[in-house]
Symmetry: C2
């Protein structure tokens, strides 16, 4: 950890006299022997910074819209409790000065910046999410993607592909959902899994005594990483690439699907567990949507008339559209 | 939204010549007509800020541990794409200057501060989580707690009690898990639900034709809010406080449990769905743990010998300990 970044924000019901309020806050920073720099000072709009020992740095700004923001940065090795004390003092002072003018106070957990272990893994739709990561178990680049497996106390080991959280060991409900939420009878059926390198779907479907499962995963390194570090997800199913009722093909699924189509080979179930932005050795289509459509098209062609196609619907609204336009 | 706060961080393999690098970065800020202030300048440790039009403000700091952090704040109404352009320019410049010295670049989604709709709801264990909230449906204080129901595109409506995310409409797997993951036969059984004001467990158990469900929820306002805004969770089950096979008691569960114990009334299932830090009208115990232990103790006393007790295990590790110490 190189920097802890604290924020403390106040939404006011009306504008505050910023210069008067600032004067009162100054004493808190003076006690910390922090040096003030005024960047802008108007009655309702001002920005002042404070810099002091151990590299402590604060930004206080009043905006005319009635918003007061305080940032406080403390460096590695600095006393965390002193940062809390400072923020508590500032909050108390603001409450005393502006009391009923304060509509809302928001204090976020400190951002931990430059840590050896990265706790922040934003979602595919760009939301900030912090995980309780305490160990990096695997971090390597395959020919296709960066592969990380991180340990979280809450979620178990987490597979992250190209920075996108793929699956955690606690995500059995996800695997069950993509298999049809326990309502499907896989016994004696032929199943095709696209992607699924974490082995979760394979492991769960194998238990249901299908006739044969074929899983087509492009990335050997995902399989190797998950076999070792995601055993709560995949059990022992990735220990061998073939078993009594399954085979794992380490190949790009597009040519495999095309071969099946040309051979007239069909399945009872096709489960598409490819990444949100699927990777291929030779994408023929320019855009992601065209590529998704190609996969969907080929998948439907290898389905028996009574067959079923399962896929995840990710946070991306657009994927709905692809499916919708196909089936309607 | 009053402030967008962007961060752009670089972890270096070795210290960089900060004054030389800074000089090169200056041009990016000069193009933006931002005024520089030097707060500290040493060879391996420096802090410089830039302030400019529309209230744009940046902090650039080099730390001797080989960490470079950039903060950029832009105010409401400012062009978001210009912020991205600025950050892209800074990132490109840093890459050109320090190339192989850069171990890692981390850019988080911008923090949206002072927004009318709050997107940040940290977990009980203090992790920062952003939701795609787009509407506040309910926000009121009951005698017991603050109750919010917010709409998220991804999760549906979300119930937040005292700032702690309680349940989202998409959380059916949670409800199913606390009911025993579909492995329990509730038909003809007597069930006691502690808390559960969102109606989720009640709605799901009612479908399984139990003999009688008694739900004891302290907060009428939670029931009212959820009846209106969490219908994917509770269906129509909260429209009436009594039904063919259920009754809802709007009461503190502790005296109710004590009454049942004294009467010798017992249940086949007790499902504890109280909040992580349960509320009571008259807590007799000083600490949260003692209170949790009291609830557990009373719950076990109203269980038939063949009965089962279900509860959530929250992120808090400590709760494990309470259960563990009881059963061993």
């Amino acid at each position: 950890m190189a920097l802890r970044h604290y924020t403390l924000d106040f939404s006011l019901t009306a504008q505050a006299d910023s210069s008067a309020t600032l004067k009162e806050l100054q004493s808190v920073f003076q006690e910390q022997e922090m040096t003030e720099t005024v960047h802008n000072i108007e009655r309702n709009n001002c920005l002042v910074t404070y810099y002091g020992k151990n590299g402590r740095f604060a930004v206080v700004r009043f905006q005319s819209c009635g918003f007061v923001s305080i940032d406080f940065q403390s460096c590695e090795g600095d006393d965390e409790s002193e940062a809390y004390d400072l923020l508590n003092s500032l909050e108390e002072k603001m409450k005393a000065l502006l009391h009923s003018n304060i509509k809302k106070i928001k204090r976020l957990p400190a951002l931990i910046r430059g840590g050896a272990i990265d706790r922040y893994w934003p979602t595919a739709d760009g939301r900030l999410v912090e995980y309780d990561i305490d160990e990096v178990l695997f971090d390597d680049d395959s020919p296709y993607q960066n592969i990380k497996i991180l340990h979280s106390q809450q979620f178990g080991n987490i597979l992250i592909l190209n920075g996108d959280v793929n699956l955690a060991e606690s995500d059995l409900p996800y695997t069950q959902a993509i298999m049809g939420s326990g309502k499907e009878d896989y016994a004696g059926k032929e199943v095709l899994i696209l992607g699924g390198g974490d082995g979760g779907i394979l492991y769960e479907v194998v238990k249901l005594k299908p006739k044969m499962i074929t899983m087509v995963e492009i990335d050997q390194m995902v399989i190797d990483g998950c076999r070792k570090h995601m055993r709560r997800t995949c059990g022992d199913v990735l220990d061998n690439l073939t078993g009594d009722c399954y085979q794992v093909l380490v190949e790009d699924c597009v040519p495999v699907l095309k071969k099946y189509v040309s051979e007239g080979k069909t399945f009872d179930y096709v489960i598409n567990d490819l990444t949100a932005v699927p990777i291929s050795t030779a994408p023929e289509e320019d855009s992601t949507w065209e590529f998704l459509r190609l996969i969907l098209d080929l998948s439907i062609k290898v389905l028996r008339p009574s067959g079923k196609y399962f896929t995840q619907v990710r946070e991306c609204f657009s994927i709905y559209i692809v499916l919708y336009s196909y089936f309607t």
